[in-house]
């Protein structure tokens, strides 16, 4: 087992001090990262002590350390899960051969693009969320936001580590590029559209961490199968941290749901808005928006890129072990196509459908949280059921882009779409309303904003009213 080094500025288990190339590259990159963090990281809290977890090892037990830290001093480390002895390629044309410890020249450009695309999402989300702290519903939530932010920062480090270690000068240039692009900036936007959408309110933040970070989870699961072993090991460890981000999303939405139910019942007309809360109808619209937008991140339903990634061993299916056929040369998948006004299943060679295979797993996973939310609604005695829209609804990428479908997936006309869009997706008025609830931060330990219920418990055994962020004004 490679030993963990924590006494250097960059905690790592990659024997950084003996790798001249990496050390030099990271030393040059680090100040630029800090500059980026100061410019684009959480605004207004860089001097605060925040109760954060820091990854310090790759042990299942006790991999992280919790303590107060000022975010710019956070110890962004580099951790890969321990190598699996004699690991072989788990899928595709190279199935059964030894995994690669170096980038094969043949796949250099493709792998670099995959890693850059993944890496670009990490700083993008920090940028999207940089003003959120100023409207935090509680110190608990503020801390969670920062936890997510610093870990997205660490995930950026993880990708930069790969770029620096294995992709030479091109890799270093790409690593610089990751700090140069800016979410939402029309001149130098982030690579994926969803990561240029503003995340201006906390409901969006919870939706983002639930739906969009979950796409990240599935992309990481697919990359964790990669024949390029350093990528597989890096992404496996990232998944450990990613779980918390989805926890933040799932419990965040749950608490909004709980509060919405309370306020619904409190109001004589059953109107949570009248009680100054977020109503379940609005919440459903936000779900519709973020779910459909995140679905696009999986790419086209029928994709030769996906087939080629699979064939060459670059990107597998989530938990490839669960499948029996790792070549996927003979199977097919039925994918509904929309033709001449009708939806017709068409059989697609399985390798061409790999994006859809991953999307299937994602949709099932998304539904689990929705079920929990619905149970809470039921327990509260409110007669509403939240649903995920059909995956054809509101798609900007893939087979269904440019067509109109209702949330049940039925084709509708453009006129119907524009007439009913506001019933299904947040309107300007909805967004303005949600924002109007979040104009002031709540800094008093244990106190919650009016529109959200408190969490069931605090962090790492600390009480809910623990001072998770020592904010200095």
């Amino acid at each position: 087992m490679s030993s963990v080094v924590n006494d250097t500025k960059i905690p790592n288990n990659v024997d950084l001090s003996s790798d001249k190339r990496l050390q030099r590259a990271l030393e040059e990159w680090q100040p630029n990262f800090i500059n980026w963090w100061m410019e684009m990281g959480p605004e207004g809290y860089q001097a605060d002590d925040v109760y954060l977890r820091t990854a310090t090892s790759v042990d299942h037990e006790g991999w992280a350390h919790f303590d107060y830290v000022k975010m710019p001093e956070y110890r962004w480390g580099i951790f890969l899960t321990e190598p699996v002895k004699d690991r072989t390629v788990g899928f595709g044309d190279e199935f059964g051969k030894p995994v690669w410890q170096q980038v094969p020249g043949e796949h250099r450009n493709t792998l670099r693009r995959l890693i850059v695309t993944q890496g670009d999402t990490e700083p993008a989300s920090v940028e999207q969320q940089r003003l959120l702290g100023q409207t935090t519903p509680s110190l608990y939530d503020l801390r969670n936001l920062f936890q997510v932010n610093v870990e997205e920062g660490r995930h950026l480090w993880a990708m930069v580590y790969l770029l620096h270690s294995y992709f030479g000068r091109d890799g270093r240039e790409e690593a610089e590029g990751l700090l140069e692009r800016r979410s939402g900036n029309p001149d130098k936007p982030r690579i994926l559209t969803t990561f240029n959408e503003p995340c201006e309110d906390w409901l969006s933040f919870f939706m983002f961490t639930y739906f969009t970070d979950r796409d990240g989870k599935y992309q990481l699961l697919a990359l964790a199968e990669s024949a390029f072993d350093p990528l597989a090991r890096t992404t496996r460890f990232m998944l450990t941290e990613e779980a918390h981000h989805m926890f933040v999303g799932e419990t965040g939405v749950l608490r909004v749901v709980q509060r919405a139910c309370e306020l619904t019942k409190l109001d004589p007309n059953g109107d949570a808005r009248a009680q100054g809360g977020i109503d379940l109808g609005t919440l459903q619209k936000y779900m519709n928006f973020w779910f459909s937008s995140s679905l696009g991140l999986f790419g086209g339903e029928v994709s030769s890129n996906a087939a080629s990634f699979f064939a060459s061993g670059l990107k597998g299916r989530a938990k490839e072990d669960q499948y029996e056929d790792h070549l996927a040369l003979t199977g097919t998948m039925n994918i509904p196509h929309f033709k001449d006004g009708r939806i017709i299943d068409e059989s697609v060679p399985l390798r061409m459908a790999m994006n859809e295979v991953l999307r299937d797993d994602y949709v099932i996973d998304c539904q689990r949280g929705v079920d929990k939310w619905n149970r809470a609604i039921k327990e509260a005695g409110v007669d509403v059921e939240l649903t995920l829209p059909n995956r054809r609804f509101n798609r900007g990428v893939g087979l269904y882009a440019g067509q109109h479908f209702d949330p049940q997936g039925n084709p509708i006309t453009a006129a119907e779409w524009s007439a009913r869009q506001g019933d299904w997706l947040p309107t300007e008025a909805d967004r303005a309303y949600v924002k109007s609830l979040m104009t002031r931060p709540v800094y008093e330990p244990g106190k919650m904003a009016h529109w959200i219920a408190p969490p069931k418990q605090g962090i790492k055994g600390r009480p809910v009213d623990f001072e998770y962020v020592r904010h200095t004004v």
Binding site: R21, P104, G105, E106, G168, R169
Partner: protein, 560 residues
């Protein structure tokens, strides 16, 4: 029936004593000094093919025949300084040469056909260079019919004399008989060199029986016709005229070209100045060429005394042999990594003294320069990717830097201490034009000719940073990146489609003007290689397949 490759590796070394198909003679010609005419006589042994399965009837040729011709031309250059004119003729009655053997082509793999055609094209151009570069004009004395490759061989000579016997003709029957193109520059030379009117050329190229007698003169296909009885006299008269034009006016001893020192194994070849390491699993060959080890000749006398084992000659003959070996015997090698080793200043000093002797008119020095020019062209024209690696201890200077300039990419180590350098010499600015007629530097900096002028003034060795700034290298990784950058680039290159690489490189290497050579290697060869793959030629009912069979070819009539 397709042979994957000749069973045993093709070897390119031979000598007049070993020729089976040619004779190199020095006849006495009336009115000319003894030894001033070399006669290269084609007399192909029918059952002397390189491999079984075909009979070399009617002075048809295969690669083995052409290897001897190439050797004969080289011998005339180096070993026979008194020669002032060459005549190429046939040792058979009423047939000059009927071109490449059809059954040989029909039973060859596509890669072999392409390599064969390229080699024969190079040899034809060497004949032309014998006249243009060495000042030794060449006469084709067609004492019988010259068809297909036979007429193309004649086209590569300065003058063509055709026997007028009511039967001997010149022809390019490839299109009408075989549905392929004349593969050794015939179409190009007919219109570009002999300037035959295009409509007449069109008729000629579709007329299987060809053209003879007076019409062959009217159509500019030959320069002279002579009856059987007058033929020898006409040859002598033409040779007298040609030798009067010769600019080679040398006397004395030539330089004997003795066999190369080469230790050949499965893993490559060790010559005296060149080593080739073949890594089949990585589809890679690494060629390392050494700089001269000690002082090189400063005077014509010393140049002669040092013989063909000296660096000036041996290193480049070895590289030539290595390239041919890789082309024919290592098809799976997709990439050649070019390295040099030794004292870069020794290369520059050798360059300077050689050029000084050549400029002063020494014929041997000139031949040495021309040899190098041909070998470098062979490198340009090899269908392998070329990467040059400039590392500590390398000798990429002057002539050896041309290897790098011929490469598709140049990697130079930026060691941070300016220990790794490259250097230019006058050899980079003229003596080694490419097929396009430009130097490699001029081709490289086609966007701004003044760059080359400025480089001419650079005398000091350049380190990686400087070389990068001046556009002389592609990448300059530092020691930490070097290993990986090179490894990944190599792996990436060999993972790409070999066909796409061949086509891409041929397109990118020869920017600038079109010449007869670029047309032959580009337009003609590319079309030929396409036609060679098409069903109309090689399909089950294609013309090449049906040749010599009772049934006729059937064409897919759609024009592409």
């Amino acid at each position: 029936m397709e042979h994957s490759a000749p069973e045993s590796p093709v070897r390119f070394e031979t000598s007049p004593a070993q020729y089976r198909h040619w004779r190199l003679e020095f006849p006495t010609v009336a009115g000319l000094a003894p030894g001033s005419v070399a006669r290269i006589v084609m007399d192909v042994v029918e059952d002397g093919g390189m491999r079984p399965g075909y009979v070399l009837k009617l002075n048809s040729y295969d690669l083995g025949v052409d290897i001897e011709l190439a050797d004969a031309i080289q011998r005339v250059r180096f070993e026979h300084p008194a020669v002032r004119a060459v005549v190429v003729t046939s040792g058979k009655d009423r047939i000059f040469c009927s071109g490449a053997n059809i059954y040989m082509l029909g039973s060859s793999t596509h890669p072999f056909k392409v390599n064969f055609c390229k080699f024969t094209n190079e040899t034809r151009l060497y004949l032309e260079e014998l006249s243009a570069g060495s000042g030794i004009p060449v006469l084709a004395a067609l004492n019988g019919t010259a068809s297909g490759g036979g007429y193309e061989l004649a086209l590569a000579c300065d003058d063509i004399l055709l026997q007028d016997d009511g039967n001997s003709a010149v022809s390019l029957p490839e299109v009408p008989l075989l549905a392929v193109l004349p593969g050794t520059g015939g179409l190009t030379r007919v219109v570009d060199k002999r300037k035959v009117r295009r409509d007449l050329a069109d008729v000629f190229s579709t007329l299987a029986e060809g053209v003879r007698g007076k019409r062959s003169i009217e159509w500019r296909l030959v320069d002279e016709i002579a009856s059987r009885s007058r033929f020898d006299a006409a040859v002598a008269a033409r040779l007298a005229k040609l030798s009067a034009r010769a600019t080679r006016t040398a006397t004395g001893e030539g330089m004997a070209l003795t066999p190369l020192t080469a230790q050949r194994t499965e893993q490559g070849t060790a010559y005296s100045y060149v080593t080739v390491a073949v890594d089949t699993s990585r589809r890679l060959a690494e060629i390392t060429m050494k700089a001269p080890a000690g002082p090189t000749p400063e005077t014509p006398e010393a140049l002669r005394a040092a013989g063909c084992a000296q660096w000036h000659v041996a290193a480049w003959r070895e590289l030539d042999d290595a390239l041919l070996d890789l082309r024919f015997n290592h098809l799976e090698v997709g990439l050649i990594v070019l390295r040099t080793a030794g004292d870069a200043e020794a290369v520059r000093s050798a360059d300077r003294s050689l050029l000084r002797m050549a400029d002063a008119g020494d014929w041997l020095a000139r031949e040495v320069v021309l040899l190098r020019k041909r070998v470098l062209k062979r490198l340009d024209l090899s269908a392998k990717s070329l990467f040059a690696l400039i590392e500590p201890g390398s000798a990429f200077a002057g002539s050896l830097f041309e290897l790098a300039l011929a490469a598709d990419r140049i990697f130079m180590l930026d060691d941070g201490e300016s220990k790794t350098t490259l250097a230019l010499s006058p050899m980079n600015f003229g003596p080694f034009p490419m097929s396009n007629g430009l130097t490699r530097l001029a081709t490289r900096f086609l966007y701004d000719p003044t760059v080359v002028d400025k480089l001419r003034a650079v005398s000091d060795p350049l380190d990686a940073a400087d070389a990068m700034k001046k556009g002389l290298v592609t990448f300059a990784p530092d020691p930490i990146d070097w290993g990986d950058e090179v490894r990944v680039a190599v792996e990436e290159r060999t993972s790409m489609s070999p066909d796409a690489m061949t086509g891409m490189e041929a397109n990118l290497r020869f920017a600038g003007p079109e010449t007869l050579e670029t047309k032959i290697y580009g337009r003609l060869s590319a079309w030929q290689n396409w036609i060679f793959q098409r069903p109309n030629a090689v399909g089950p009912r294609g013309a090449l397949t049906m040749y010599g069979k009772p049934e006729r070819a059937v064409f897919d009539v759609r024009r592409t």
